[in-house]
């Protein structure tokens, strides 16, 4: 199966520092729903068993009705990897205890007196089904509350949060371009995921390692992609190896924002094989923006080290990287980076070496569709931005240099 990922794999592949002094203001956090709790003892065991120094969370940085006795895998994964990558940063755990889904989180978060500066959200659902799952049924549009209205209101709340200087990061989904609401791919359209498809959030797709080699301990020095290439090749997750496909595509609610117009246009005109044009909105916001490991990531839960997969892994890993970049920004200017996408796309344009371009793979399959014979459509990776792995995975040293300058 997929090559396993531990914190040292991320250091080795992305060049994130093993020794790092965080700015005291720098903070990262994970947002949970569905009662997903974490156990501080699991986090400590993870730190011990993976030889990763991790700051324990102070009680005032655990928000909501966290119940360590019934820790969930999602929450456990999220906090372990954002903390393991963003070493030294102050960590937050935020469990949205209300039942108002993304609107509840966003309005509570905005109004909180103190919040983390980087936030990772590993949850999402069909952009169109915010109506069904979030507000009501298919008929709700005639009654003044509809999916588009819900998405637009949450997008406004995301703007408010970004305007305060907080970086919002979201997983791009685990059911390919088609999404999970039509698992057998019977409909003649793809289903973008929200909040990943929001233009006001940084969406992260998932990669896996091909031809990986075992890491020694301590890992060999690795300063960037070129010296790490021998550790394996990153590809978009595949159904055959990772048993899911990374979410990605184009929003039906939000149009292409200016920061990615050039990148999206290049992809659509590149000659890469595309789904039928009626299946997606080529003038919509393209997602994801970036990618990170999302296959067989090792966590400590329920008494042992176990492997998990999904863009749920990718979002907190990238969130940890952003925490490190925020350290640089805060140390130099006293200000965080805030909403990241205009910076990331400009960085890619000015310094392409800040990303490892992932050109292998696609996001055709849903778990049901490709597991049981459904014929699913999706997008292929290509040089430059693509709606599978975005701009690529981080090359930390180049990103740090760019942010520093």
């Amino acid at each position: 199966d997929a090559t396993a990922v531990v914190p040292q794999t991320i250091q080795n592949s992305y060049g994130t520092p093993s020794n790092h002094t965080a700015d005291p203001q720098s903070s990262t956090g994970v947002i949970e729903f569905e009662g997903q709790s974490f156990a501080p003892s699991d986090l400590q065991n993870f730190a011990t068993q993976t030889l990763t120094p991790i700051k324990a969370l102070s009680s005032d940085h655990i928000v909501g009705p966290n119940s360590p006795g019934s820790a969930g895998v999602e929450a456990t994964l999220d906090i372990q990897y954002i903390a393991a990558v963003g070493r030294g940063d102050t960590n937050w755990f935020w469990l949205e205890g209300g039942t108002a889904w993304l609107y509840g989180f966003s309005t509570h978060f905005f109004n909180a007196a103190s919040t983390p500066l980087v936030v990772s959200i590993s949850y999402g659902w069909s952009e169109a089904a915010q109506c069904q799952q979030g507000i009501g049924g298919a008929e709700c549009s005639q009654l003044g509350v509809n999916s588009q209205q819900y998405v637009e209101r949450v997008n406004t709340e995301f703007q408010k949060i970004g305007l305060k200087g907080v970086s919002l990061i979201a997983a791009s989904g685990d059911s390919g371009a088609n999404g999970r609401t039509d698992g057998l791919c019977t409909e003649s359209h793809l289903n973008p995921t929200f909040p990943a498809a929001s233009p006001y959030i940084t969406a992260v797709g998932a990669t896996e390692i091909h031809d990986g080699t075992p890491l020694s301990n301590p890992p060999p020095a690795c300063s960037g992609a070129s010296t790490c290439a021998s550790k394996g090749t990153e590809a978009a997750v595949s159904y055959s190896q990772s048993h899911f496909a990374s979410g990605g595509g184009f929003s039906n609610v939000a149009s292409t924002p200016s920061y990615q117009k050039e990148a999206v246009s290049s992809y659509l005109s590149s000659g890469v094989t595309l789904p039928p044009s009626s299946y997606y909105n080529s003038t919509g916001r393209g997602y994801p923006d970036v990618a990170a490991f999302g296959s067989n990531v090792q966590i400590y839960a329920q008494g042992s080290i176990q492997g998990v997969g999904g863009t749920s892994c990718s979002a907190p890993i990238f969130g940890g990287v952003v925490g490190l970049l925020n350290d640089i920004s805060l140390s130099k200017s006293g200000k965080p980076l805030g909403f990241l996408n205009p910076l990331l796309y400009k960085m890619h344009s000015d310094k392409p070496g800040a990303f490892t371009d992932v050109t292998i793979g696609d996001n055709h399959c849903t778990e049901e569709g490709c597991g049981f014979g459904g014929s699913c459509k999706g997008f292929k990776c290509a040089a430059g931005w693509d709606p599978v792995t975005g701009l690529g995975t981080p090359v930390y040293s180049a990103m740090a240099e760019y942010v520093s300058n």
Binding site: E34, E74, L77, T99, Y103, L143, V145, T156, S242
Partner: protein, 167 residues
Amino acid sequence: SGRRVLYSRDSHPADWKQGERASADHPVRFIVALKQQNLNILEDAFWAVSSPDSPRYRQFLTTEEITNLVRPKPEAIAGVRTWLTQAGVKEIVDMGDALEAVTTVSVAEIALNTQFFMFHHQSGNKVVRQFGEYSVPVGLSEHIDLVAGISEFPIVRENPFKKIAAG
């Protein structure tokens, strides 16, 4: 008379089963999202502070500045507060452009002219949700974007452990 239906739920997600009427004293929290003002200015400011080429790059605003920018019309806030109070809501949290009601099923049923039920998920999860129509006073409906927290069903996901066995 005098009510506008915001939504009428006549079905629920297949993995949830409708159960008994919720008890009258069961706690309920819902958020009335009020229509905001100056959204074009908000969006312009968002892009200005987020774009590296902008002279306002990273000149972030405070919570208070942003709240003042988008604050709904005073009559919207006052009207919704009065409606909730008259319905019996005793705790109202002012979030600037939204009011959160902390109350019980019986009061929420009066305020929203609806009924709440217990819904059960096969995983064992339970949630109290309204079923059928809910409505708000017709004079206030123009000031309300949505009411959140009464008809959403949580997404109960598969345990990701099942996707990949440990390597």
